[in-house]
C-alpha cells in the first residue's frame, strides 16, 4: 500500500514537470492531426546541444567528485549491461523476427536514450530531496557515454554471425551470400565509436574534464542554465514524432509491442539489481536503471542503417521511439524510483 501511494505521488510529480507536459502537448498535437512541426535540422541541432550540455556538465562534475573503486565498478557494470542485454534480447526477438531485424532491435535496446537519462536527472532534481544520495554523480554521464558503442558492436556481430537470408524482410533480395559472417572491423568501429552522437557526448565529457573553473563559468550560461527549457522544446518534438509513429504500430504486431514495454522495466530491474549490489545511492541507482531500461533512437538507428541495412528501421525506431521512450519518461522513471526506495529503505 505504502509503495503504491508513493508511486502514484511520484508519478504525478513526474507528470507535472514542464518537460513531460510538453511531451504530452506534442502527443496531443499529433493525435488531433495538428500541422505543428519543428522541421529538420532544428531537432538535430537541439539534440547536439543536449548531448554537448550533458557531456560538459558530466565532465565538470566528474572532476569534482572522488573517483573510487565503486565508480570504476559502475562504469564497468554499464559496459557489461549494454553488451549483454542485446544478446538475450536477440534470442527472444528471433522467435518473431529474422536475424537482421532481431539484431538491430537488440542493439537498440542494449543502448541508451540520452533524453530519457536527462529526463530522469530532471525528475530527481525536481524532487528537491536534501539527501545527498539522491544527487547522482557526474560519472553517470560517463556510464551513459560508455553504453552506446558496446550495444552497436554486439548488434552488428550478432547480425553477421547468424546471417541467413532474411525472411520477414520486404526487400526481394536478402544479405548477399558473400557478405555473411564477413565483418569490416574498421567500418564497425567507426560506426560504434565515431558515430555523431557518441562523438559529441564523449568529446564534451572530455572537454568538461579538461577545462578549468573559469572555462566552465564562461560557457555555463549557454550549456547549463537554459538546459531544462531547451529540453521542453525537444520533448515537444519528441511527443509529435512518437505519436505520429503510433500508426505504424499496427504493422509491428503485439509480440513486438509487448517486448518494447516489458523489456524496459526488466532491463531497469537488472540495472537496479546491479546498483544494489554495488551499494550506490538512490540517484545513481535510478540513472543506472534508466540507462539499462531505455532504448536508443538516434545513435543506434544511424549505425544500423549502415551496418545492418537489411533490418527495417520502421520496426526498431518505432518500437524505441513510440513505445519504450514514452513509457519510460512518463511511468517508468517514477516506477523505478519507487522500487529503488522500497529496496533501499
Amino acid at each position: 500500500m505504502v509503495y503504491i501511494d508513493m508511486d502514484v505521488s511520484l508519478l504525478l510529480d513526474n507528470l507535472r514537470t514542464p518537460a513531460i507536459l510538453f511531451f504530452g502537448l506534442g502527443v496531443f498535437a499529433a493525435i488531433v492531426k495538428s500541422d505543428l512541426a519543428l522541421p529538420q535540422p532544428i531537432p538535430k541541432f537541439l539534440s547536439v546541444y543536449l548531448l554537448m550540455a550533458i557531456g560538459l556538465h558530466g565532465g565538470v562534475e566528474l572532476m569534482n567528485s572522488d573517483i573510487d573503486t565503486s565508480v570504476v565498478l559502475i562504469l564497468l557494470a554499464a559496459v557489461v549491461l549494454s553488451a549483454v542485454t542485446p544478446i538475450w534480447s536477440f534470442f527472444v526477438l528471433r522467435l518473431k523476427l529474422d536475424v537482421p531485424n532481431a539484431a538491430a532491435m537488440a542493439a537498440t535496446y542494449g543502448s541508451i536514450s540520452a533524453v530519457t537519462f536527462i529526463t530522469a536527472n530532471n525528475f530527481l532534481d525536481s524532487l528537491n530531496n536534501p539527501d545527498p544520495a539522491y544527487t547522482p554523480g557526474g560519472y553517470m554521464v560517463a556510464a551513459m557515454a560508455l553504453m552506446e558503442s558496446p550495444a552497436i558492436v554486439a548488434g552488428v556481430l550478432l547480425a553477421r554471425y547468424f546471417a541467413t537470408p532474411a525472411k520477414d524482410d520486404a526487400s526481394p533480395q536478402a544479405l548477399p551470400q558473400e557478405d555473411r559472417g564477413k565483418i569490416d572491423w574498421g567500418e564497425l568501429m567507426r560506426e560504434a565509436f565515431f558515430n555523431g552522437a557518441v562523438i559529441v557526448l564523449v568529446g564534451s565529457l572530455l572537454i568538461g574534464i579538461a577545462i578549468d573553473k573559469k572555462g566552465w563559468e564562461s560557457i555555463q550560461p549557454f550549456v547549463y542554465t537554459p538546459f531544462k527549457g531547451v529540453l521542453c522544446l525537444f520533448l515537444l518534438d519528441m511527443g509529435l514524432v512518437a505519436a505520429r509513429r503510433l500508426s505504424d504500430l499496427r504493422r509491428c504486431g503485439p509480440s513486438l509491442i509487448a517486448f518494447a514495454i516489458l523489456s524496459a522495466p526488466l532491463h531497469a530491474l537488472l540495472g537496479i539489481g546491479v546498483a544494489w549490489l554495488l551499494g550506490v545511492g538512490q540517484g545513481d541507482a535510478l540513472l543506472l536503471a534508466v540507462l539499462a531500461g531505455s532504448a536508443s533512437y538516434i545513435a543506434v538507428p544511424a549505425a544500423m542503417r549502415l551496418a545492418v541495412p537489411e533490418a527495417n528501421p520502421g520496426l526498431y525506431v518505432t518500437m524505441s521511439l513510440a513505445v519504450t521512450f514514452p513509457f519510460n519518461i512518463t511511468v517508468g522513471i517514477p516506477l523505478y524510483l519507487a522500487i529503488i526506495e522500497a529496496l533501499w529503505a
Binding site: L38, Q40, S47, P176, D179, P301, A302, P309, P313, L321
Partner: protein
C-alpha cells in the same frame, strides 16, 4: 544541344556516398544532390521525422553520355541491392554553352 542520359537515384542519405563513388568510378564527375528528401518504396515509408535521421533520403541526379549508362548501372547494382532505392534513366538534351 547534345543528346545525353539523365540518371536519377533516390537512396538513404547515409548511403549516398556509395552512389557517388560508383558514378565517379565509371568516369561520371557531374552530379547534383538534393538532401532532406522523404519517400516511400518497397522498404516502407521514410518520413523525415526530425529525431532520428535514419530515415532521410537523398536524390542524386546526373547527366552523362549514353555510352556510360551500362557501366554506371553495373556499378550501382550492388549498392541498390543491398540498401534499396530507386534508379531511373531518361533521355534529355544538354544545352552546351
Amino acid at each position: 544541344m547534345k543528346q545525353i542520359k539523365r540518371m536519377e537515384i533516390v537512396i538513404g542519405t547515409v548511403h549516398a556516398d556509395r552512389v557517388i563513388l560508383a558514378l565517379r568510378s565509371v568516369g561520371v564527375t557531374g552530379y547534383t544532390v538534393v538532401n532532406g528528401v522523404s519517400g516511400s518504396g518497397d522498404r516502407g515509408t521514410r518520413p523525415i521525422d526530425g529525431v532520428s535521421g535514419a530515415f532521410e533520403n537523398s536524390m542524386i541526379m546526373s547527366a552523362f553520355d549514353a555510352s556510360l549508362v551500362d557501366a554506371a548501372v553495373e556499378k550501382l547494382q550492388p549498392t541498390l541491392k543491398r540498401f534499396g532505392g530507386l534508379c531511373l534513366v531518361s533521355d534529355a538534351q544538354w544545352v552546351m554553352y
